[in-house]
């Protein structure tokens, strides 16, 4: 027990961040599982974080309601963007969400209620490690079951070949929107939980590089199952600490290692690091 408490004193915040990042990685995983690249999930997390933070601070809402409202608002906004954009194919969703992310960031910098560039300061600390991992486990279970359901198969078919999916009777626009909105909802939860962990949130945390980071978690971990994105988030969040441990703390090098890992995985390990753990056999969906 003494070891555990000491471990938490040193690495507690790292453990929390791994959980949040894993949740964020799962939010993008849903969208990617339909073959749609969203670069707006960091912004949806930002919407969740700011909404929940403001509700708690200004309106003294209970934690659960703040989190739910943050996630709900992220989902509603995703629906408004997704409905028109997802009717067409290709990388337009990536670009629209990218532009959207910038709009959100700029709005957060310029609004009064969000605290401007200094960020929203003084959010009460209501998130515990248990909350984070409870939500993460529930989300992972939900997504794992979703995979084998009608929705999951439809998303997989769309990812593989949208035209063929249509010919099988799949309403592709509807399912793509569903995947996008569900992803935004999960991102909103993650953001709202994060806001109540960190005392302060700033607009820069939810920008383009954060969105790209989520993509990296998914690619590095692999998207064959829900464990892949979580593994990716775990490795890449813990890696800086490990590198610091072996006194490799030079900033550029650490950044470069991220890039090299990503490159090696995309070139030589298209199914991600999870394929090492699972062996060559693919996980079958219940």
């Amino acid at each position: 027990m003494a070891f555990l408490s000491q471990f938490f004193a040193v690495y507690g915040s790292l453990v929390n961040f791994i959980g949040i990042n894993a949740l964020l990685a799962l939010s993008l995983y849903v969208t990617l599982s339909a073959g749609q690249l969203s670069l707006g999930n960091a912004a949806f997390a930002g919407i969740g974080a700011y909404t929940a933070g403001i509700l708690t601070m200004r309106f003294h809402m209970p934690y659960a309601i703040s989190v739910a409202a943050g996630a709900g608002l992220a989902a509603v906004i995703a629906l408004l963007i997704g409905l028109p954009v997802l009717r067409i194919r290709g990388i337009f969703l990536a670009m629209a969400t990218l532009a959207f992310g910038e709009v959100v960031r700029i709005a957060a910098v310029n609004l009064d209620i969000t605290g401007g560039a200094q960020g929203l300061v003084g959010i009460p600390n209501k998130t515990t490690t248990c909350t984070i991992y409870g939500v993460l486990a529930a989300t992972a279970y939900f997504l794992a079951v979703l995979r084998g359901s009608k929705v999951g198969w439809s998303l997989a078919a769309i990812r593989e070949d949208e035209t063929a999916a249509m010919a099988l009777g799949i309403n592709t626009a509807r399912y793509k929107t569903l995947a996008f909105v569900l992803g935004a909802f999960i991102a909103g939860i993650a953001g709202a939980i994060y806001a109540h962990l960190n005392f302060i949130i700033t607009p820069g945390e939810f920008g383009f590089s954060a969105a790209v980071q989520l993509l990296i978690y998914n690619i590095v971990g692999g998207m064959q199952s829900v464990y892949g994105p979580m593994l990716g988030a775990f490795i890449l969040t813990a890696l800086p600490e490990v590198l610091r441990g072996v006194s490799l703390s030079a900033g550029p090098l650490r950044l470069g290692i991220n890039g090299v890992i990503l490159l090696l995985v995309i070139l030589y390990l298209p199914n991600g690091l999870i394929s090492f753990l699972k062996g060559p056999n693919r996980v079958s969906r219940i």
């Binding site: 073959g35 690249l37 963007i81 028109p84 954009v85 067409i88 194919r89 290709g90 990388i91 337009f92 990536a94 670009m95 629209a96 990218l98 532009a99 959207f100 910038e102 709009v103 700029i106 709005a107 910098v109 310029n110 035209t163 383009f208 590089s209 790209v212 993509l215 990296i216 690619i219 030079a250 900033g251 550029p252 090098l253 950044l255 470069g256 991220n258 890039g259 090299v260 990503l262 490159l263 995309i266 070139l267 298209p270």
Partner: protein, 296 residues
């Protein structure tokens, strides 16, 4: 009134740099259907290399400029070789290309950080003889004129190459259909390498001009132009070169006008990105682009 005219002129100059940057983006997208997110990192490295050649190498900017442009082009070849060619052989999806370009962007950016450091650096004073012309109350500097002329010359040269040279025609053939081009005996891999070289050389040139114009270079300067470049090619239509130029200028103008009208620079990017978002939602193929939707 004259303030507005001045702002419009400034917007035009910076817009031409955006246009130059975006051409490189749009060229690769038009030919390969890949969004090359490492383009901004090449932009940064181009600018920083020119600065290094001038400040440390003691070269004149007139020598350093073409050298740094060539170096940027070489980075493009490297990019194609490492990040894209292996995926082409595997016939991977466009998403994989996007992701490996992100990986290269990270690697390039960390290289820039490692070599040049994190601080903002400037070109030495008196590098260019900077004349200032006054028209009524509007000022134009010779630097601005040189920037816009360089950008225009490079854009025109590219357009002419694509239209009249053998290589340019081959590039357009590959853009139309890689498979058909291969059947016609065109060296597709060679054409793609040339495309990356030209695209990255233009990106590097844009980085140098940008550095000269704002007199500030930093390893993360590619970040903001990356998003702006995307906005520009979407405005202009993906894959359209005249569209990239017009989109760049429109974007530059919208930036300065927003600043002029709101009186603060906080919202500078907001209008542009909001417009972009609306365009994507209403007319996703861009303003000038032809709809290139793949069908069964």
């Amino acid at each position: 009134m004259s303030v507005l005219v001045q702002q419009l002129i400034n917007g035009f100059f910076i817009g031409s740099v955006y246009g130059l940057f975006a051409i490189g983006y749009t060229l690769v997208f038009g030919v390969l259907d890949i969004l090359n997110l490492a383009h901004a990192a090449v932009f940064t490295l181009g600018g920083l290399t020119a600065l290094w050649l001038v400040a440390t190498g003691g070269l004149s900017i007139w020598v350093a400029f073409p050298l740094a442009v060539l170096f940027s082009g070489a980075l493009g070849l490297l990019l194609d070789r490492i990040a894209f060619a292996p995926l082409r052989r595997r016939a991977a999806s466009n998403l994989s290309g996007l992701i490996s370009s992100i990986a290269m962007a990270i690697i390039f950016e960390s290289a820039a950080l490692g070599i040049f450091g994190a601080r903002t650096v400037r070109f030495p004073q008196g590098l260019l003889v900077n004349r200032v012309w006054h028209f009524e109350s509007v000022t134009v500097t010779s630097l601005q004129v040189e920037i816009v002329l360089s950008a225009l010359v490079l854009m025109l040269a590219l357009t002419a190459c694509l239209r009249y040279t053998r290589t340019g025609k081959a590039i357009r053939a590959v853009a139309e259909s890689e498979r058909t081009a291969r059947l016609l005996g065109i060296n597709v891999d060679g054409v793609i390498a040339v495309t990356f070289f030209v695209s990255s050389a233009l990106g590097g040139a844009a980085g140098i001009l940008y550095g000269l114009y704002f007199d500030a270079l930093a390893p993360d300067m590619g970040r903001s132009i990356e998003l702006k470049g995307l906005a520009v090619i979407i405005l202009g239509g993906m894959g359209s070169i005249p569209g990239a130029i017009l989109g760049g200028i429109a974007f530059g103008l919208s930036e300065v006008l927003t600043v002029a009208l709101t009186g603060t620079s906080n919202l500078r990017d907001a209008v542009a990105f909001s417009v972009l978002l609306v365009i994507l939602i209403l007319r996703p193929t861009g303003l000038l682009g032809r709809g290139r939707v793949r069908e069964a």
